[in-house]
Protein backbone atom coordinates (compact mmCIF):
# COMPACT_ATOMS: atom_id res chain seq x y z
CA UNK A 1 0.00 0.00 0.00
CA UNK A 2 1.37 3.37 -0.95
CA UNK A 3 1.61 5.61 2.10
CA UNK A 4 1.72 8.83 0.05
CA UNK A 5 -1.61 8.62 -1.80
CA UNK A 6 -2.41 12.28 -1.08
CA UNK A 7 0.44 14.28 -2.56
CA UNK A 8 1.32 17.50 -0.73
CA UNK A 9 1.89 20.73 -2.71
CA UNK A 10 4.80 20.80 -5.12
CA UNK A 11 7.38 22.33 -2.82
CA UNK A 12 7.63 22.96 0.86
CA UNK A 13 9.58 26.20 0.34
CA UNK A 14 8.59 28.71 2.98
CA UNK A 15 9.29 32.39 2.59
CA UNK A 16 10.47 34.21 5.74
CA UNK A 17 8.25 36.97 7.13
CA UNK A 18 9.24 40.29 5.62
CA UNK A 19 8.25 43.80 6.63
CA UNK A 20 7.35 46.67 4.23
CA UNK A 21 10.93 47.45 3.23
CA UNK A 22 11.74 43.80 2.49
CA UNK A 23 14.05 42.96 5.37
CA UNK A 24 13.19 39.89 7.43
CA UNK A 25 11.41 40.56 10.71
CA UNK A 26 13.44 39.74 13.77
CA UNK A 27 17.08 38.84 13.88
CA UNK A 28 18.75 36.26 11.72
CA UNK A 29 20.66 33.49 13.42
CA UNK A 30 23.97 32.77 11.73
CA UNK A 31 25.14 29.22 12.21
CA UNK A 32 28.42 27.94 10.94
CA UNK A 33 27.83 24.24 10.31
CA UNK A 34 31.51 23.96 10.70
CA UNK A 35 34.12 21.68 9.27
CA UNK A 36 33.93 19.21 12.16
CA UNK A 37 30.43 17.94 11.69
CA UNK A 38 29.36 14.32 11.37
CA UNK A 39 26.89 15.07 8.61
CA UNK A 40 28.95 17.09 6.22
CA UNK A 41 30.73 14.27 4.37
CA UNK A 42 34.18 15.57 5.08
CA UNK A 43 35.72 18.89 6.14
CA UNK A 44 33.05 21.12 4.64
CA UNK A 45 31.52 24.22 6.17
CA UNK A 46 28.17 25.87 5.48
CA UNK A 47 27.56 29.41 6.76
CA UNK A 48 23.80 29.36 7.17
CA UNK A 49 21.62 32.34 8.05
CA UNK A 50 18.39 31.25 9.67
CA UNK A 51 15.11 32.99 10.24
CA UNK A 52 13.77 30.79 13.00
CA UNK A 53 14.42 27.40 11.47
CA UNK A 54 14.16 28.46 7.84
CA UNK A 55 17.26 28.91 5.75
CA UNK A 56 17.52 32.41 4.33
CA UNK A 57 21.10 32.37 3.08
CA UNK A 58 23.61 29.55 2.71
CA UNK A 59 27.22 29.98 1.68
CA UNK A 60 29.38 26.87 1.34
CA UNK A 61 32.99 27.29 2.47
CA UNK A 62 35.60 24.70 1.61
CA UNK A 63 39.30 24.46 0.96
CA UNK A 64 40.16 22.64 4.16
CA UNK A 65 41.47 19.67 2.18
CA UNK A 66 43.17 21.69 -0.56
CA UNK A 67 46.44 19.95 -1.36
CA UNK A 68 47.07 21.75 -4.67
CA UNK A 69 47.00 18.52 -6.62
CA UNK A 70 47.20 20.53 -9.85
CA UNK A 71 50.51 22.12 -8.98
CA UNK A 72 51.91 18.77 -7.85
CA UNK A 73 50.85 17.44 -11.25
CA UNK A 74 52.89 20.14 -12.98
CA UNK A 75 56.06 19.16 -11.12
CA UNK A 76 56.06 15.36 -11.40
CA UNK A 77 55.92 13.07 -14.39
CA UNK A 78 52.76 11.74 -16.02
CA UNK A 79 53.05 8.29 -14.45
CA UNK A 80 53.75 9.67 -11.00
CA UNK A 81 50.44 11.61 -11.09
CA UNK A 82 48.48 8.38 -11.33
CA UNK A 83 48.59 7.50 -7.60
CA UNK A 84 47.62 11.10 -6.82
CA UNK A 85 44.47 10.75 -8.89
CA UNK A 86 43.41 7.87 -6.61
CA UNK A 87 43.20 10.36 -3.81
CA UNK A 88 40.89 12.82 -5.57
CA UNK A 89 37.58 11.07 -5.04
CA UNK A 90 38.88 8.56 -2.59
CA UNK A 91 35.84 6.29 -2.81
CA UNK A 92 36.12 5.81 -6.56
CA UNK A 93 39.80 5.48 -7.29
CA UNK A 94 39.31 3.27 -10.37
CA UNK A 95 37.20 5.84 -12.26
CA UNK A 96 39.65 8.62 -11.40
CA UNK A 97 42.45 6.51 -12.81
CA UNK A 98 40.42 5.76 -15.92
CA UNK A 99 39.62 9.43 -16.58
CA UNK A 100 43.31 10.37 -16.36
CA UNK A 101 44.42 7.41 -18.49
CA UNK A 102 41.73 8.26 -21.06
CA UNK A 103 42.97 11.83 -21.36
CA UNK A 104 46.60 10.82 -21.77
CA UNK A 105 45.65 8.19 -24.34
CA UNK A 106 43.79 10.91 -26.27
CA UNK A 107 46.82 13.17 -25.99
CA UNK A 108 49.44 10.62 -26.98
CA UNK A 109 47.36 8.55 -29.38
CA UNK A 110 47.66 5.21 -27.58
CA UNK A 111 45.33 2.30 -28.31
CA UNK A 112 43.94 0.10 -25.56
CA UNK A 113 43.61 -3.67 -26.14
CA UNK A 114 40.16 -5.21 -25.89
CA UNK A 115 40.67 -7.24 -22.75
CA UNK A 116 41.89 -4.13 -20.95
CA UNK A 117 38.76 -2.24 -22.07
CA UNK A 118 36.54 -4.96 -20.61
CA UNK A 119 38.54 -4.97 -17.38
CA UNK A 120 38.20 -1.18 -17.17
CA UNK A 121 34.42 -1.40 -17.58
CA UNK A 122 34.20 -4.10 -14.91
CA UNK A 123 36.26 -2.04 -12.46
CA UNK A 124 34.29 1.14 -13.18
CA UNK A 125 30.93 -0.53 -12.66
CA UNK A 126 32.11 -2.22 -9.47
CA UNK A 127 33.22 1.22 -8.31
CA UNK A 128 29.82 2.65 -9.14
CA UNK A 129 28.14 -0.13 -7.14
CA UNK A 130 30.21 0.39 -4.04
CA UNK A 131 30.02 4.18 -4.23
CA UNK A 132 26.23 4.28 -4.50
CA UNK A 133 25.87 1.67 -1.77
CA UNK A 134 27.86 3.52 0.80
CA UNK A 135 26.37 6.84 -0.30
CA UNK A 136 22.91 5.52 0.53
CA UNK A 137 24.31 4.40 3.86
CA UNK A 138 25.61 7.92 4.62
CA UNK A 139 22.45 9.53 3.32
CA UNK A 140 20.23 7.48 5.60
CA UNK A 141 22.56 8.08 8.52
CA UNK A 142 22.26 11.85 8.00
CA UNK A 143 18.55 11.41 8.51
CA UNK A 144 19.08 9.76 11.85
CA UNK A 145 19.29 6.04 11.15
CA UNK A 146 22.31 5.97 13.47
CA UNK A 147 24.54 3.70 11.45
CA UNK A 148 22.76 0.37 11.05
CA UNK A 149 21.97 0.64 7.29
CA UNK A 150 25.43 2.12 6.87
CA UNK A 151 26.94 -1.00 8.41
CA UNK A 152 25.03 -3.22 5.99
CA UNK A 153 26.19 -1.03 3.12
CA UNK A 154 29.80 -1.23 4.25
CA UNK A 155 29.58 -4.98 4.69
CA UNK A 156 28.68 -5.38 1.03
CA UNK A 157 31.18 -2.76 -0.02
CA UNK A 158 33.92 -4.78 1.67
CA UNK A 159 33.21 -7.66 -0.70
CA UNK A 160 33.94 -5.39 -3.66
CA UNK A 161 37.00 -3.91 -1.98
CA UNK A 162 38.30 -7.44 -1.41
CA UNK A 163 38.11 -7.93 -5.17
CA UNK A 164 40.07 -4.73 -5.74
CA UNK A 165 42.67 -5.81 -3.23
CA UNK A 166 43.24 -9.20 -4.78
CA UNK A 167 43.89 -7.70 -8.20
CA UNK A 168 45.70 -4.45 -7.51
CA UNK A 169 47.05 -4.83 -4.00
CA UNK A 170 45.18 -2.04 -2.25
CA UNK A 171 41.55 -1.67 -1.23
CA UNK A 172 41.00 1.96 -2.04
CA UNK A 173 44.08 3.56 -3.59
CA UNK A 174 44.34 1.09 -6.41
CA UNK A 175 46.70 2.83 -8.87
CA UNK A 176 45.59 0.23 -11.37
CA UNK A 177 45.11 1.87 -14.78
CA UNK A 178 48.08 2.77 -16.95
CA UNK A 179 48.37 4.67 -20.22
CA UNK A 180 47.49 2.07 -22.78
CA UNK A 181 45.84 -0.54 -20.59
CA UNK A 182 45.86 -1.79 -17.02
CA UNK A 183 48.78 -2.66 -14.80
CA UNK A 184 48.24 -6.42 -14.27
CA UNK A 185 45.89 -8.96 -15.74
CA UNK A 186 43.01 -10.60 -13.87
CA UNK A 187 43.00 -14.37 -13.59
CA UNK A 188 40.09 -16.81 -13.90
CA UNK A 189 39.84 -17.20 -10.14
CA UNK A 190 39.22 -13.48 -9.79
CA UNK A 191 36.57 -13.52 -12.52
CA UNK A 192 34.78 -16.41 -10.83
CA UNK A 193 34.84 -14.58 -7.51
CA UNK A 194 33.51 -11.42 -9.17
CA UNK A 195 30.67 -13.34 -10.80
CA UNK A 196 29.71 -14.65 -7.37
CA UNK A 197 29.77 -11.19 -5.76
CA UNK A 198 27.75 -9.65 -8.59
CA UNK A 199 25.24 -12.49 -8.45
CA UNK A 200 24.68 -12.02 -4.73
CA UNK A 201 24.48 -8.24 -5.01
CA UNK A 202 20.95 -8.34 -6.40
CA UNK A 203 19.69 -10.09 -3.25
CA UNK A 204 21.41 -7.56 -1.06
CA UNK A 205 19.83 -4.69 -3.01
CA UNK A 206 16.40 -6.27 -2.66
CA UNK A 207 16.84 -6.47 1.10
CA UNK A 208 18.21 -2.93 1.29
CA UNK A 209 15.36 -1.52 -0.75
CA UNK A 210 12.78 -3.49 1.25
CA UNK A 211 13.40 -1.45 4.31
CA UNK A 212 14.29 1.91 2.73
CA UNK A 213 12.39 2.73 -0.43
CA UNK A 214 8.88 2.73 1.03
CA UNK A 215 9.89 3.77 4.52
CA UNK A 216 7.47 6.45 5.77
CA UNK A 217 10.18 8.47 7.49
CA UNK A 218 12.33 8.55 4.37
CA UNK A 219 9.40 9.54 2.20
CA UNK A 220 8.28 12.31 4.52
CA UNK A 221 11.76 13.76 4.78
CA UNK A 222 12.81 13.58 1.16
CA UNK A 223 9.82 14.04 -1.10
CA UNK A 224 9.59 17.56 -2.56
CA UNK A 225 12.60 18.66 -0.54
CA UNK A 226 15.45 20.38 -2.40
CA UNK A 227 13.70 20.58 -5.76
CA UNK A 228 16.07 21.42 -8.61
CA UNK A 229 14.26 22.63 -11.76
CA UNK A 230 15.49 21.30 -15.07
CA UNK A 231 16.70 24.56 -16.63
CA UNK A 232 18.58 25.58 -13.54
CA UNK A 233 20.28 22.18 -13.41
CA UNK A 234 21.53 22.47 -16.99
CA UNK A 235 22.66 26.06 -16.57
CA UNK A 236 24.48 25.25 -13.33
CA UNK A 237 26.57 22.53 -15.05
CA UNK A 238 25.21 19.83 -12.76
CA UNK A 239 26.06 16.31 -13.91
CA UNK A 240 25.56 12.79 -12.76
CA UNK A 241 22.57 11.30 -10.90
CA UNK A 242 21.62 14.77 -9.65
CA UNK A 243 21.10 16.01 -13.20
CA UNK A 244 19.19 12.93 -14.29
CA UNK A 245 16.89 13.21 -11.28
CA UNK A 246 15.83 16.60 -12.64
CA UNK A 247 14.71 15.07 -15.89
CA UNK A 248 17.68 15.56 -18.25
CA UNK A 249 18.82 12.43 -20.05
CA UNK A 250 22.57 13.07 -20.23
CA UNK A 251 24.84 10.17 -19.34
CA UNK A 252 28.38 10.27 -20.69
CA UNK A 253 28.39 6.53 -21.21
CA UNK A 254 25.66 7.02 -23.82
CA UNK A 255 26.69 10.44 -25.16
CA UNK A 256 30.47 10.08 -25.54
CA UNK A 257 30.46 6.27 -25.83
CA UNK A 258 34.00 6.17 -24.41
CA UNK A 259 35.62 2.78 -23.94
CA UNK A 260 33.34 -0.01 -25.15
CA UNK A 261 30.12 1.10 -23.48
CA UNK A 262 28.30 1.04 -26.82
CA UNK A 263 28.45 -2.77 -26.71
CA UNK A 264 26.45 -3.13 -23.52
CA UNK A 265 22.71 -3.12 -23.23
CA UNK A 266 21.67 -0.90 -20.33
CA UNK A 267 19.22 1.92 -19.67
CA UNK A 268 19.73 5.29 -18.08
CA UNK A 269 17.21 6.08 -15.33
CA UNK A 270 15.77 9.59 -15.56
CA UNK A 271 13.76 11.21 -12.78
CA UNK A 272 10.80 13.51 -12.79
CA UNK A 273 10.62 15.84 -9.82
CA UNK A 274 14.24 16.67 -9.09
CA UNK A 275 13.86 16.29 -5.35
CA UNK A 276 15.97 14.37 -2.87
CA UNK A 277 13.86 11.22 -3.15
CA UNK A 278 14.39 11.13 -6.91
CA UNK A 279 18.14 11.41 -6.45
CA UNK A 280 18.04 8.50 -4.01
CA UNK A 281 16.01 6.42 -6.46
CA UNK A 282 18.41 7.35 -9.30
CA UNK A 283 21.25 5.78 -7.41
CA UNK A 284 19.29 2.63 -6.57
CA UNK A 285 18.23 2.18 -10.20
CA UNK A 286 21.74 2.90 -11.43
CA UNK A 287 23.02 0.13 -9.21
CA UNK A 288 20.63 -2.32 -10.86
CA UNK A 289 21.82 -1.18 -14.30
CA UNK A 290 25.43 -1.59 -13.21
CA UNK A 291 24.73 -5.18 -12.23
CA UNK A 292 23.36 -5.76 -15.74
CA UNK A 293 26.46 -4.26 -17.35
CA UNK A 294 28.72 -6.33 -15.09
CA UNK A 295 27.00 -9.56 -15.98
CA UNK A 296 27.36 -8.82 -19.68
CA UNK A 297 31.01 -7.81 -19.35
CA UNK A 298 31.94 -10.85 -17.27
CA UNK A 299 30.28 -13.06 -19.83
CA UNK A 300 31.98 -11.53 -22.88
CA UNK A 301 35.50 -10.71 -21.71
CA UNK A 302 38.00 -12.02 -24.30
CA UNK A 303 41.55 -13.28 -23.78
CA UNK A 304 44.53 -11.22 -24.87
CA UNK A 305 47.13 -8.68 -23.73
CA UNK A 306 46.31 -5.93 -21.30
CA UNK A 307 48.85 -3.25 -22.24
CA UNK A 308 49.48 -1.36 -25.45
CA UNK A 309 52.93 -2.49 -26.69
CA UNK A 310 53.75 1.06 -27.81
CA UNK A 311 53.24 2.52 -24.33
CA UNK A 312 56.38 3.37 -22.33
CA UNK A 313 56.57 3.31 -18.56
CA UNK A 314 59.62 5.51 -17.99
CA UNK A 315 60.55 8.56 -20.01
CA UNK A 316 57.05 9.09 -21.34
CA UNK A 317 56.97 12.35 -23.33
CA UNK A 318 53.78 12.98 -25.30
CA UNK A 319 54.00 15.46 -28.15
CA UNK A 320 52.92 19.05 -27.46
CA UNK A 321 49.19 19.68 -27.56
CA UNK A 322 46.19 19.60 -25.29
CA UNK A 323 43.31 17.24 -24.64
CA UNK A 324 40.18 17.12 -22.49
CA UNK A 325 38.95 13.68 -21.51
CA UNK A 326 35.90 12.91 -19.39
CA UNK A 327 34.19 9.87 -17.91
CA UNK A 328 30.91 9.25 -16.10
CA UNK A 329 32.19 8.91 -12.55
CA UNK A 330 29.62 7.81 -9.95
CA UNK A 331 29.32 11.43 -8.82
CA UNK A 332 29.04 13.10 -12.22
CA UNK A 333 31.34 14.12 -15.04
CA UNK A 334 34.97 13.81 -14.08
CA UNK A 335 37.20 15.55 -16.61
CA UNK A 336 40.95 16.01 -17.00
CA UNK A 337 42.40 18.82 -19.13
CA UNK A 338 46.09 18.31 -19.84
CA UNK A 339 48.38 20.62 -21.80
CA UNK A 340 51.67 19.07 -22.79
CA UNK A 341 54.73 20.93 -24.03
CA UNK A 342 56.86 17.95 -24.92
CA UNK A 343 58.63 17.66 -21.56
CA UNK A 344 58.24 14.73 -19.14
CA UNK A 345 55.94 16.82 -16.91
CA UNK A 346 52.61 18.31 -18.03
CA UNK A 347 52.47 22.08 -18.55
CA UNK A 348 48.95 22.39 -17.17
CA UNK A 349 47.12 19.64 -15.34
CA UNK A 350 43.53 20.45 -14.53
CA UNK A 351 40.90 18.27 -12.85
CA UNK A 352 37.25 19.09 -13.45
CA UNK A 353 35.65 17.69 -10.28
CA UNK A 354 31.94 16.80 -10.35
CA UNK A 355 31.28 17.48 -6.68
CA UNK A 356 32.80 20.98 -6.84
CA UNK A 357 30.58 22.04 -9.72
CA UNK A 358 27.47 20.34 -8.30
CA UNK A 359 27.82 22.47 -5.17
CA UNK A 360 27.13 25.66 -7.15
CA UNK A 361 23.37 25.46 -6.65
CA UNK A 362 23.41 24.11 -3.11
CA UNK A 363 22.22 27.50 -1.88
CA UNK A 364 19.37 27.68 -4.38
CA UNK A 365 18.14 24.24 -3.41
CA UNK A 366 18.19 24.90 0.33
CA UNK A 367 16.52 28.32 0.45
CA UNK A 368 13.20 28.24 2.20
CA UNK A 369 13.71 24.81 3.73
CA UNK A 370 14.46 23.99 7.34
CA UNK A 371 17.97 23.50 8.57
CA UNK A 372 17.43 19.77 8.99
CA UNK A 373 16.55 19.63 5.30
CA UNK A 374 19.80 21.36 4.45
CA UNK A 375 21.67 18.36 5.84
CA UNK A 376 19.58 15.96 3.80
CA UNK A 377 19.98 18.02 0.62
CA UNK A 378 23.74 18.10 1.08
CA UNK A 379 23.69 14.35 1.53
CA UNK A 380 21.88 13.92 -1.75
CA UNK A 381 24.38 16.05 -3.68
CA UNK A 382 27.00 13.39 -2.88
CA UNK A 383 30.20 15.29 -2.31
CA UNK A 384 33.60 13.98 -1.42
CA UNK A 385 35.95 16.65 -0.17
CA UNK A 386 39.01 15.11 -1.76
CA UNK A 387 37.45 16.00 -5.09
CA UNK A 388 35.96 19.36 -4.17
CA UNK A 389 39.21 20.74 -2.83
CA UNK A 390 41.76 18.61 -4.67
Amino acid sequence: MNAVAELPPKSFAVKPKLDESGTPIGELLEVSMGPHHPSTHGVFRMDVSLDGETVVKLKPVFGYLHRNHEKIGENISYLASMPYTDRLDYFCSMTNNWAYALTIEKLAGLAVPERAEYIRVIMAELTRLQNHTCLIGFFVQDMGALGTPMMYAFREREKILDLFESVSGARMMCNYMRFGGVRVDVNDEWLAQTKKVVGDYGNFLDEFEAFLTQNEILLARTQFVGVLPRDLAVSASVTGPMLRASGVNYDLRKVDKYGIYSRFDFQVPVGEHGDVYDRYMMRVLEMRESIKILQQALRDIPAGPVMDPKAKLRGFRPKPGEAYGRVEAPKGELGFYIISDGSPNPYRYRVRPPSFVNLTILEDMCLGHRIADAVVILGSVDIVLGEVDR
Binding site: A80, P83, F154, F211, E216, I217
Partner: protein, 196 residues
Protein backbone atom coordinates in the same frame (compact mmCIF):
# COMPACT_ATOMS: atom_id res chain seq x y z
CA UNK B 1 -1.59 1.24 7.76
CA UNK B 2 0.80 3.92 8.94
CA UNK B 3 4.10 2.55 10.14
CA UNK B 4 3.82 -0.67 8.16
CA UNK B 5 7.06 -0.08 6.28
CA UNK B 6 8.89 0.83 9.47
CA UNK B 7 7.90 -2.52 10.97
CA UNK B 8 9.09 -4.25 7.79
CA UNK B 9 12.39 -2.43 8.19
CA UNK B 10 12.70 -3.61 11.77
CA UNK B 11 12.13 -7.16 10.53
CA UNK B 12 15.12 -6.80 8.20
CA UNK B 13 17.23 -5.46 11.05
CA UNK B 14 16.18 -8.33 13.29
CA UNK B 15 17.03 -10.84 10.57
CA UNK B 16 20.50 -9.32 10.20
CA UNK B 17 21.03 -9.20 13.97
CA UNK B 18 20.07 -12.79 14.73
CA UNK B 19 21.62 -13.95 11.47
CA UNK B 20 25.00 -12.58 12.50
CA UNK B 21 25.19 -15.22 15.20
CA UNK B 22 24.60 -17.98 12.71
CA UNK B 23 26.13 -17.08 9.34
CA UNK B 24 29.47 -15.39 8.63
CA UNK B 25 27.86 -13.54 5.74
CA UNK B 26 25.96 -11.24 8.05
CA UNK B 27 28.85 -10.59 10.44
CA UNK B 28 30.66 -7.36 9.73
CA UNK B 29 33.69 -7.52 12.00
CA UNK B 30 36.36 -9.82 13.42
CA UNK B 31 37.90 -9.61 16.88
CA UNK B 32 41.21 -8.03 15.94
CA UNK B 33 44.00 -8.51 17.18
CA UNK B 34 43.15 -11.94 18.49
CA UNK B 35 41.52 -12.91 15.20
CA UNK B 36 43.02 -11.68 11.96
CA UNK B 37 41.71 -11.73 8.41
CA UNK B 38 43.64 -13.77 5.87
CA UNK B 39 45.71 -11.32 3.81
CA UNK B 40 45.24 -11.37 0.05
CA UNK B 41 47.96 -12.64 -2.23
CA UNK B 42 48.86 -9.29 -3.77
CA UNK B 43 48.50 -7.01 -0.76
CA UNK B 44 51.05 -4.22 -0.64
CA UNK B 45 52.03 -2.00 2.24
CA UNK B 46 55.58 -0.59 2.21
CA UNK B 47 58.66 -1.47 0.15
CA UNK B 48 61.44 -3.81 1.15
CA UNK B 49 64.84 -4.69 -0.36
CA UNK B 50 65.41 -8.33 -1.29
CA UNK B 51 68.74 -10.10 -0.74
CA UNK B 52 69.92 -13.60 -1.69
CA UNK B 53 71.83 -15.23 1.13
CA UNK B 54 73.69 -12.51 2.98
CA UNK B 55 72.04 -9.18 3.86
CA UNK B 56 75.12 -7.15 2.97
CA UNK B 57 76.84 -9.14 0.21
CA UNK B 58 73.70 -10.58 -1.40
CA UNK B 59 71.70 -7.36 -1.65
CA UNK B 60 70.31 -7.12 -5.16
CA UNK B 61 70.11 -3.33 -5.24
CA UNK B 62 72.84 -1.65 -7.33
CA UNK B 63 71.95 1.97 -6.39
CA UNK B 64 70.85 2.92 -9.90
CA UNK B 65 68.47 5.48 -8.22
CA UNK B 66 65.70 4.88 -10.76
CA UNK B 67 63.23 4.25 -7.93
CA UNK B 68 64.33 7.46 -6.24
CA UNK B 69 63.65 9.46 -9.40
CA UNK B 70 60.28 7.87 -10.17
CA UNK B 71 58.90 7.90 -6.62
CA UNK B 72 55.97 10.39 -6.65
CA UNK B 73 56.34 11.80 -3.12
CA UNK B 74 60.16 11.39 -3.19
CA UNK B 75 60.38 9.32 -0.03
CA UNK B 76 63.46 7.27 -1.05
CA UNK B 77 66.92 8.63 -0.28
CA UNK B 78 69.94 6.81 -1.71
CA UNK B 79 73.66 7.47 -1.30
CA UNK B 80 75.85 5.39 -3.60
CA UNK B 81 78.86 3.55 -2.24
CA UNK B 82 82.43 4.43 -3.18
CA UNK B 83 83.59 0.82 -3.82
CA UNK B 84 82.03 -2.01 -5.79
CA UNK B 85 81.00 -5.53 -4.88
CA UNK B 86 80.18 -8.50 -7.14
CA UNK B 87 76.49 -9.08 -7.87
CA UNK B 88 74.64 -12.35 -8.61
CA UNK B 89 76.17 -12.47 -12.12
CA UNK B 90 79.68 -11.97 -10.73
CA UNK B 91 80.15 -8.49 -12.21
CA UNK B 92 81.28 -5.70 -9.86
CA UNK B 93 78.45 -3.24 -9.18
CA UNK B 94 77.88 -0.28 -6.91
CA UNK B 95 75.70 -0.79 -3.88
CA UNK B 96 73.71 1.65 -1.74
CA UNK B 97 75.66 2.98 1.25
CA UNK B 98 72.50 4.66 2.51
CA UNK B 99 68.99 3.58 1.50
CA UNK B 100 66.29 5.33 3.52
CA UNK B 101 62.54 5.15 3.00
CA UNK B 102 60.34 7.52 4.96
CA UNK B 103 57.19 5.48 5.53
CA UNK B 104 55.31 8.50 6.84
CA UNK B 105 55.62 9.92 3.31
CA UNK B 106 55.42 6.70 1.26
CA UNK B 107 51.98 6.19 -0.26
CA UNK B 108 52.37 2.50 -1.21
CA UNK B 109 51.82 3.18 -4.89
CA UNK B 110 54.21 0.41 -6.03
CA UNK B 111 55.79 2.52 -8.81
CA UNK B 112 59.28 1.84 -7.40
CA UNK B 113 58.64 -1.91 -7.84
CA UNK B 114 57.41 -1.43 -11.39
CA UNK B 115 60.43 0.51 -12.60
CA UNK B 116 63.20 -1.40 -10.80
CA UNK B 117 65.25 -3.25 -13.48
CA UNK B 118 67.04 -5.51 -10.99
CA UNK B 119 64.14 -7.18 -9.12
CA UNK B 120 65.51 -5.75 -5.90
CA UNK B 121 62.75 -3.61 -4.36
CA UNK B 122 59.45 -5.37 -3.67
CA UNK B 123 56.37 -4.74 -1.57
CA UNK B 124 56.15 -5.95 2.02
CA UNK B 125 52.81 -6.61 3.74
CA UNK B 126 53.67 -5.54 7.27
CA UNK B 127 51.58 -2.61 8.42
CA UNK B 128 51.86 -2.73 12.21
CA UNK B 129 54.68 -0.21 12.30
CA UNK B 130 53.23 2.11 14.93
CA UNK B 131 55.88 3.76 17.08
CA UNK B 132 56.08 6.63 19.50
CA UNK B 133 59.11 8.21 17.83
CA UNK B 134 57.56 10.42 15.18
CA UNK B 135 60.61 11.09 13.05
CA UNK B 136 63.30 8.45 13.51
CA UNK B 137 60.83 5.62 14.14
CA UNK B 138 59.16 6.03 10.76
CA UNK B 139 62.41 6.38 8.78
CA UNK B 140 63.43 2.87 7.72
CA UNK B 141 67.11 2.32 6.97
CA UNK B 142 68.80 -0.27 4.79
CA UNK B 143 69.19 -2.84 7.55
CA UNK B 144 65.49 -2.67 8.42
CA UNK B 145 64.42 -2.80 4.78
CA UNK B 146 66.56 -5.77 3.76
CA UNK B 147 64.55 -9.00 3.74
CA UNK B 148 65.65 -12.39 2.49
CA UNK B 149 64.45 -14.06 -0.67
CA UNK B 150 62.86 -16.85 1.39
CA UNK B 151 60.74 -14.24 3.19
CA UNK B 152 59.71 -12.86 -0.20
CA UNK B 153 58.71 -16.37 -1.32
CA UNK B 154 56.55 -16.77 1.77
CA UNK B 155 54.73 -13.46 1.17
CA UNK B 156 54.12 -13.50 -2.58
CA UNK B 157 54.99 -16.99 -3.90
CA UNK B 158 53.94 -16.39 -7.51
CA UNK B 159 55.71 -13.05 -7.83
CA UNK B 160 58.86 -14.43 -6.18
CA UNK B 161 58.95 -17.38 -8.62
CA UNK B 162 58.65 -14.99 -11.55
CA UNK B 163 61.36 -12.78 -10.13
CA UNK B 164 63.71 -15.75 -9.67
CA UNK B 165 63.01 -16.88 -13.23
CA UNK B 166 63.95 -13.45 -14.60
CA UNK B 167 67.21 -13.43 -12.64
CA UNK B 168 68.22 -16.96 -13.69
CA UNK B 169 67.46 -16.09 -17.33
CA UNK B 170 69.65 -12.97 -17.05
CA UNK B 171 72.44 -14.98 -15.41
CA UNK B 172 72.39 -17.71 -18.09
CA UNK B 173 72.36 -15.06 -20.82
CA UNK B 174 75.40 -13.37 -19.27
CA UNK B 175 77.21 -16.71 -18.94
CA UNK B 176 76.46 -17.63 -22.57
CA UNK B 177 77.78 -14.26 -23.72
CA UNK B 178 80.93 -14.71 -21.62
CA UNK B 179 81.42 -18.21 -23.09
CA UNK B 180 81.16 -17.03 -26.72
CA UNK B 181 83.49 -14.10 -25.96
CA UNK B 182 86.05 -16.47 -24.41
CA UNK B 183 85.74 -18.86 -27.40
CA UNK B 184 86.22 -16.00 -29.87
CA UNK B 185 89.26 -14.78 -27.94
CA UNK B 186 90.75 -18.30 -27.84
CA UNK B 187 90.17 -18.69 -31.61
CA UNK B 188 91.77 -15.30 -32.30
CA UNK B 189 94.78 -16.24 -30.14
CA UNK B 190 95.04 -19.64 -31.92
CA UNK B 191 94.89 -18.18 -35.47
CA UNK B 192 97.16 -15.18 -34.75
CA UNK B 193 100.42 -17.18 -34.13
CA UNK B 194 99.51 -19.47 -37.11
CA UNK B 195 99.19 -16.34 -39.32
CA UNK B 196 102.62 -15.24 -38.18
Amino acid sequence: MLGEQIIKGMAVTARNFFGSYVSKNRLTTVQYPEERLVPKANTRQFPMLVFDGDAEKGLRCVACTICEKECPPKCIYIVKSKDKKPDYKGQPQLYPAVFDIDVSVCMSCQICVEVCPFESIKMNTEFELATDDRFEGLLLHKNELAKSNEYYHKLHPDDAKESDAVLTAEKSRAEAKAKTAAEAKAKAAATAPAAK
